[in-house]
């Protein structure tokens, strides 16, 4: 008979009004304390709108070949056109889709993998730790882009290929940090308490330790996301990322288009700005979340 032992939450209990009112107050507090993070969220919202409503925001089909070849930005083509007469504004709008989708899905996959491996290694220790840590080391010593390149060429371009390659690259990075986080938690009293009353190892790991490292997981997710988006762009840049008919910022910056860049710099500028802005936004949000959630770093916010 296992007795339910509530896991001690690191988030201090909040007193005062409950429900919506309390939530609104913490939102206001976040806006006040993290102006840069709020700016990041706003940019992300705009990007999400671009991605979702791309069919309504485009001025023409991003893949359609037009007669206006290499036109500089004008009223007809806000961001100009490329050598195939494709409208750059429409391509930039559609490019938000794979960037966000790949970013979110790879982070989700790497988080699941990294959490299970990191939790097991950190909590069980011993042989499991030895094996998992070596697996992390092996995966980590592969150069990320070269690994993605080989996987990309081997499996052919496609959304699945990209997600697989990038999530394998980021799993050890997440797992290693979570492992050290778990080791710090392992000897806390609540873990001991749960074990004393006879909870199984798996239960202690997932029901007690996991909730306590959630802030760390959120921080890791927010710092991995921009890195995953950059890796997708790099692979698409090299031509092994997404399939040909998919508009992607990375792809528009690489390949054969490059020979037209000195003639028509707007071809390089707009997709690059969109990509950079996206990554900046996620990094700003990640920084703000770390300030708010990582208790170890929170103390350093008070300065002398």
């Amino acid at each position: 008979m296992a007795i339910e032992v509530p896991a001690v939450s690191v988030v201090e209990p909040q007193l005062g009004p409950s429900g919506l009112g309390r939530r609104m107050r913490s939102v206001r507090r976040f806006i006040r304390r993290q102006p840069l993070g709020t700016a990041g969220i706003l940019i992300i919202v705009v990007l999400a709108v671009l991605a979702i409503f791309a069919p309504f925001l485009r001025t023409s089909d991003p893949n359609e070949f037009g007669d206006d070849v290499i036109v500089s930005p004008s009223a007809d083509h806000w961001f100009g056109t490329n050598r195939n007469g494709q409208d750059i504004w429409s391509r930039v709008v559609y490019g938000a889709r794979p960037s966000l989708a790949v970013g979110l899905m790879t982070v989700a996959a790497a988080l699941v993998g990294g959490t299970i491996l990191g939790l097991t290694a950190g909590y069980l220790g011993g042989l499991a730790d030895l094996v998992i840590s070596r697996v992390f080391e092996v995966l980590n010593s592969f150069p990320a882009v070269l690994f993605g390149l080989v996987v990309g060429v081997a499996l052919g371009p496609g959304l699945g290929t990209v997600i697989l390659a990038i999530s394998i690259v980021f799993t050890p990075a997440i797992g290693r940090i979570l492992r050290s986080g778990v080791i710090a938690e392992r000897n806390r009293q609540y873990v001991e308490a749960a074990r004393v009353i006879g909870a199984a190892e798996g239960r202690v790991m997932f029901r007690h330790v996991l909730p306590n490292i959630t802030p760390l997981i959120i921080v890791l997710a927010s710092t991995t996301l921009p890195a995953a988006i950059l890796t997708e762009a790099a692979l698409s840049f090299l031509g092994v990322g997404l399939p040909l008919d998919q508009a992607s910022w990375g792809k528009d910056l690489g390949g054969q288009t490059r020979s037209y860049f000195t003639l028509a710099p707007w071809l390089a500028i707009f997709p690059g700005v969109a990509l950079s802005l996206t990554v900046v936004a996620f990094n700003l949000l990640g920084d703000a979340l770390r300030d708010e959630l990582d208790p170890r770093l929170r103390n350093t916010a008070f300065r002398s």
């Binding site: 092996v138 010593s141 080989v150 060429v153 840049f237 690489g254 860049f261 103390n299 300065r303």
Partner: protein, 315 residues
């Protein structure tokens, strides 16, 4: 300490071995038959020719035997012949590794020169306008993809002033000065990203050290603020700083496929990138193993340096 280094040194070849096995399996599932590619039109109607090329590459043998044939030469530093150009891999790899090493060294120099001062100033002025400005600058540095910065560095001067960076590479023996001048721009582009990481780590570990007891003691006994910052705070924030510099060094010395390609620098990264597209599995195997070994050694050096910087750490 000695046993720790010894244990790590034993682990390095083990990990490199596993990396080589995984790479071996991966490159074998690359689509396309290198024998057909190499023969070109001649291979279209000549099955015996294709068969001969495959035999010369040992591709007709079972996988374990193929691996063993590769392994027994590789362990002596002989990576065999390129599958696509039939040139010896090792001499070319050595030449290219030297170029990547030089590029890496210059990049690390720039990274430290840019990143550390920004981080220190940001920490000392924390919470003020300077800090916010520098922090935003470093977020920009780690967000803007370096292949885009590199692209802009190449195209914008050419669009505005019709000036393009040299497309032809000058080796160190041809003209050492010109050689290093050529490496400055790509090194700066790479350092922009790396220094952003260094600046952030410097700032946060300095902030942590700033609030510690020994710093309060140093202030209490009336030391000048500059001495407090450099002798007491900075020295204590060196460890995370070393970690991140080591990590960046490992990444850069592994060769940047994209940056080396954009600036036409004949380094290991460019070699690896081309080899993958050429289906040259022999070269991919060689470069991956070398890069993994370099990366592992740098991590080891960083870990050993910890003990030297911080005498409290004993392995």
């Amino acid at each position: 300490m000695r046993t720790y280094i010894l244990r790590r040194l034993i682990l390095v070849p083990f990990i490199v071995f596993v990396v080589s096995v995984i790479t071996f399996m991966f490159v074998r599932i690359l689509p396309g038959d290198v024998a057909v590619t190499r023969l070109g039109a001649a291979g279209q109607n000549c099955d015996t020719c294709v068969q001969k090329v495959r035999e010369s590459l040992n591709l007709d043998k079972p996988y374990p035997e193929q691996y063993w044939l590769w392994f027994k030469d590789a362990i002596r530093g002989d990576f065999g012949l390129s599958a696509s150009s039939t040139q010896e891999i090792t001499p070319e790899l050595r030449e290219r590794a030297a170029v990547t090493l030089q590029l890496g060294a210059i990049t690390i120099l720039f990274t430290v020169l840019i990143g550390v001062p920004i981080g220190v100033i940001s920490a000392v002025k924390s919470g003020r306008a300077t800090d916010y400005f520098l922090r935003f600058f470093s977020i920009l540095g780690l967000s803007v993809p370096n292949f885009w910065t590199a692209t802009l560095v190449v195209i914008l001067p050419s669009y505005w002033w019709q000036w393009t960076p040299a497309q032809k590479f000058t080796t160190i023996s041809e003209d050492p000065v010109k050689h290093f001048v050529l490496l400055v721009l790509p090194a700066l582009v790479l350092a922009l990203t790396a220094s952003a990481y260094v600046a952030r780590i410097t700032r946060s570990s300095m902030l942590e050290a700033l609030t510690s007891d020994h710093v309060r003691t140093a202030r209490a006994k009336g030391l000048r603020e500059s001495r407090v910052v450099f002798d007491h705070v900075f020295r204590n924030s060196l460890i995370p700083l070393l970690t991140v510099i080591g990590l960046q060094a490992g990444l850069i010395l592994g060769g940047s496929i994209i940056i080396e390609d954009i600036f036409s620098i004949p380094g290991m990264g460019q070699m690896a990138g081309r080899a993958v597209f050429d289906r040259d599995f022999m070269t991919v195997q060689a470069v991956t193993v070398v890069i993994a070994a370099v990366f592992m050694f740098i991590t080891l050096i960083v870990d050993v340096t910890y003990a030297w910087v911080d005498p409290r750490i004993r392995y």
